[in-house]
């Protein structure tokens, strides 16, 4: 069985492009060109150069000695938090901005939830001198003021999404509507491995640098390219897709996906899509999503703004359904505790998204000889207020 996308844009039964005809030319143009463009030597050269000089790659694969001692296993942290703009998101936006330029687009749109992808998009637009419009839910704009300010400083226009529930899914709807209304000159930089084919595959390929580096870095540390486990948090799932990518078809490497349970899977306030979701269509992709019996998409909840998406990317739906990846869900409280533990033991303040992945060690017993790579997808600066409120600091 292959865990990668097939030529029709499906991962198993998930994926595809369920889009209105108005979007067909845009998506089709991208589909016909993305692999060709990505394979061009000058594209590769420019992409890699920017990842090195601008993003600061390779990001370290750090052996977390004290954390490893505590849990009696070998824990490595893939330090995506050290990237420019503070998370893995920039890998994708660098790739997509170069794609947009080669397709002759001069107007960039994006959606954002907490603002991390919005900032990463505004950053690369400033870098390339392209117009940037970021759609953000009205509610998120109110609760993520620093990132809104960052985007504005970087020259982006932030447009409030006032429809529906006024959060990430609605910001995504608004970005898609913008693209329908501007079909010729605009490229839509989706921030995760979601949306119609070819987006999930394209974003996964841009994020694949993460697992590519893990392989050779682990070779240096341990004399093997294969970890026993790769652990990553999953909202839409882009950091997980990047961390898994080069291990997908190597079943000796175990994959663990950590979802946000929010206040608890059965609390009604959760974002654990694999447990609570059913197959359906969201943002042009057939995947698992949280919805009413009637097929209306529901609003998820997590303390982490980066994980409260009501679906998962189709790759992850397939990894779940096929059993290739183990899915676990972590509550707000457990994630916050794991985040604080990393601060105390390793001197690293993680993003709350990444804290969910770190909480795996309290849930699951690993052997002392196991090599466990955890994707530390982002840094916690953006989450200080949440940490302050949670721990009454």
């Amino acid at each position: 069985m292959s865990y990668n996308v097939n030529e029709k844009g499906y991962y198993g039964e998930f994926g595809g492009a369920f889009i209105p005809e108005m979007l067909y030319p845009n998506v089709e143009e991208l589909r016909q060109n993305y692999l060709k463009v990505m394979a061009e030597p000058n594209f590769q050269k420019e992409f890699n150069q920017l990842l090195k000089d601008y993003v600061g790659r390779p990001s370290p694969l750090y052996f977390a000695k004290r954390l490893s001692e505590k849990y009696n296993t070998k824990i490595y942290l893939k330090r995506e938090d050290l990237n420019h703009t503070g998370a893995h998101k920039i890998n994708n936006t660098i790739g997509q901005i170069l794609m947009a330029k080669r397709l002759g687009k001069h107007r960039i749109i994006a959606e954002t939830g907490a603002g991390q992808h919005g900032v990463a998009t505004a950053t690369v637009c400033a870098l390339m001198g392209l117009e940037c419009i970021v759609y953000m839910g009205e509610i998120d704009i109110a609760r993520q003021a620093p990132n809104v300010a960052r985007m504005k400083m970087l020259g982006a226009t932030v447009v409030p999404a006032t429809s529906g529930s006024k959060t990430l899914k609605d910001a995504t709807n608004e970005a898609i509507r913008d693209w329908i209304n501007n079909p010729v000159d605009t490229h839509y930089i989706i921030g995760s491995v979601v949306g119609p084919h070819p987006y999930p595959d394209m974003v996964a390929r841009f994020q694949a640098i993460v697992s590519e580096e893990i392989k050779w870095q682990l070779q240096e540390h341990e004399g093997t390219t294969k970890p026993d486990y790769v652990v990553a948090c999953v909202g839409g799932g882009s950091n997980a897709a990047g961390s898994y990518y080069h291990f997908l078809d190597d079943t000796e490497v175990n994959l663990i996906a950590v979802e946000a349970a929010g206040l608890g899977v059965d609390s009604g306030e959760s974002a654990a899509t694999s447990v609570l979701g059913r197959e359906g269509i969201i943002h042009g992709s057939k995947t698992l999503l949280m919805q009413t019996n009637d097929g209306q998409i529901t609003e998820p909840y997590s303390i982490s703004a980066g994980l409260d998406y009501p679906g998962v990317g189709p790759m992850h739906a397939h990894l779940y359904k096929s059993g290739r990846a183990e899915f676990i869900s972590i509550t707000d409280d457990d994630a916050m505790t794991a985040g604080l533990e990393l601060c105390k033991l390793e001197g690293i303040i993680p993003a709350i998204e990444s804290s969910h992945a770190l909480a795996v060690f309290d849930k699951k017993q690993f052997r002392s000889t196991d090599i466990v790579v955890v994707s530390l997808s982002g840094r916690g600066d953006k989450d200080l207020e949440t940490y302050i409120n949670h721990f009454k600091l």
Binding site: F18, Y24, N173, Q291, T298
Partner: protein, 254 residues
């Protein structure tokens, strides 16, 4: 013969009206349909509301959100429509997004439509190729016409493909936009209308998006078999309620 095909054979320009089921009030569905028929509208699109209507502008989005708040669901709609054929003979089309149909079960949904007397479906986010490969046989089994959209950006080759698998009419989106976004037609639209008219497609075309009054209705139907009014009608019932539907329609048809 399907009521849509019968209607398309009439020697006149057709006016089709879209409304959101369950809006402004949950129980307005049947009376709006009866009212539209008695005011000489030719075809009706019943909007099944969805939480995330990607192809719709603010007017229809807002009406969908309100309809869902009012308690509209697929079951409620089917229940409201169960005796609709006792009182009207106008062609009825359900327009909705694919996910609610998928959750209902596509075959069960189609079967229910046939039972009620629905004539066709418009599902903007069900792609032509997926329909062709997976669902065409089911739709046909229950006598349903599936209507596809084309836009000014759709290539001639793709239009021919869509024409080849359509069996009612083609929904011609007037400009690159979501619903209700633009009003009035310029040179670009006229060129597009002419281009499509000259393709001599086997299916008649009905123009939608951007039709809001008598002037745009006349312009659109100069080239096409008919036109669809959606957002302007939803705005009308928002502002004026459902009692003056006749006035709205008469102003279009003068």
């Amino acid at each position: 013969m399907n009521r849509i095909n019968q209607k398309l054979q009439e020697d006149k320009k057709l006016l089709s009206i879209y409304f959101t089921a369950g809006y402004p009030n949950i129980n307005d569905t049947v009376s709006i349909i009866q009212n539209l028929e008695s005011n000489s509208v030719d075809m009706i699109e019943i909007g099944l509301p969805f939480s995330d209507p990607l192809a719709d502008g603010p007017t229809i989005q807002a009406s969908s959100t309100q309809a869902l708040k009012n308690g509209m669901t697929t079951d409620v709609l089917f229940n409201q429509l169960k005796d609709i054929r006792k009182s009207v003979s106008i062609p009825l089309i359900i327009m909705g997004y694919f996910n609610p149909m998928l959750q209902y079960g596509v075959e069960a949904f189609c079967e229910k439509c046939q039972e009620i007397g629905i004539d066709g479906l418009i599902i903007p986010d069900l792609p032509v190729d997926v329909y062709h490969e997976e669902y065409k046989a089911t739709f046909e089994k229950y006598g349903l016409i599936n209507v596809f959209l084309i836009t000014p950006q759709t290539s001639d080759e793709r239009i021919r493909y869509i024409d080849s698998i359509s069996n009612g009419f083609i929904y011609m989106v007037s400009s690159a936009s979501t619903t209700g976004a633009k009003s009035g037609f310029g040179k670009e639209q006229t060129n597009y209308f002419e281009r499509i008219a000259n393709m001599n497609l086997k299916n008649p075309q009905i123009v939608g998006f951007g039709i809001s009054n008598s002037e745009t209705f006349t312009q659109a139907t100069k080239y096409a078999k008919g036109a669809i009014i959606g957002s302007a009608f939803v705005k009308h019932v928002t502002n004026e309620g459902t009692d003056t539907i006749g006035n709205f329609v008469q102003k279009i048809l003068i």
